[in-house]
Subunit: 203 residues, 2 copies
């Protein structure tokens, strides 16, 4: 197995906890969480398994921390939207925009979240928090439907699922650090995707 | 590990090849392809590993067959759209509708396709076919932009990715066989999702 090109090979065992978590999440995303062993993580990090255990108690603790990071940020974004915007239509637009921003900022952690299969209590708890986020967006959409700002011919829950489907898909193709032609700045991408999502919601 | 509730326990080793493949794809989707061993497949099927090898030569051959099923159907749908519809706007709408129908008909195989990480030549080849499908939809969208039927403020490639993000997300929540309240018939769902996707594309 080749060493990861994303694992900085600086002075081992000089990882801080956050850098170690970042590398581990990257390995999870490339090989799958279940297919990743602590031995594989050690190999990618270039340190011993016991050195990993100095930072974290288990593979599952790494997963849980990464999922918490993603979910905390997604929930905080919705909290901010509800505090900052009064109009239902404005709330929906701000929620779409805020969720896209979190996806860019926490892309590896959100990618991990989106691929969960529910094979453990930790995964099931994260999936329940994710469903609660979908429900909150659905409630915003329901209010916007009543205000006439969002199409009324589809249930708010399914509109929330479809909007999040489009939003979440950016983790599969958008790379904020890429300087290849055709890649846009974060703000341009967030604006563009928000327009398309809102176009779909407004009908 | 509990036996799968989806594995029909009828007279072993009485599986036909298609039923065996279906059960294996289901196990892949629940546990992850890489985390699934031939031993796990045998356990879920309730037959021996050697009985599996009677039908298929390897775990990867099962993956390849499932991916081919999904990709063949997606490509055939686009071929049909190009043969049956002349107007660019009509083509895009028919492509969205046709892709949704394939997703419902081949949901387990498409789910497997959507979760690939590119860890083998088989996976990389399937991902390249998937990208070619996205490019074909992008070309239809480009033609529809020129005809004024689709918004022109976002690249056709990114509109294709966003549309497919919304379309593909149905595998996470739509269950055609479910009779729980709120689940709609396939035709109703396909119509509703098509309206939302087209709303986003038209702006």
């Amino acid at each position: 197995m080749p060493h990861s090109s994303t694992a900085p090979r600086r002075g081992r065992p000089g990882y801080d906890r956050q850098t170690l978590l970042t590398v581990c999440v990257d390995v999870f995303n490339r090989h799958g969480y279940e297919a990743t062993s602590m031995g594989m993580l050690a190999q990618h990090l270039g340190i011993s398994k016991s050195a990993i255990y100095h930072h974290v108690e288990s593979k599952e603790a790494i997963l849980e921390q990464a999922l918490d990071d993603a979910l905390d940020a997604l929930e905080a974004s919705l909290d901010g939207v509800m505090a900052d915007f009064a109009g239902p239509g404005e709330q929906v637009e701000a929620a779409v925009r805020g969720t896209l921003r979190v996806l860019v900022e926490k892309m590896p952690e959100v990618t991990l979240l989106l691929r969960l299969r529910g094979n453990s209590a930790v995964e099931l708890a994260a999936m329940e928090r994710r469903r609660a986020i979908t429900r909150r967006l659905g409630e915003m959409i329901a209010a916007a439907q009543e205000a006439g700002a969002v199409r009324g011919d589809i249930t708010p829950r399914n509109l929330a699922r479809l909007a999040l489907g489009m939003i979440n898909s950016i983790v599969d193709w958008y790379r904020p650090e890429s300087d290849s032609p055709g890649h846009k700045s974060v703000t341009e991408m967030v604006d563009a995707v928000t327009r398309v999502v809102l176009g779909g919601l407004r009908g």
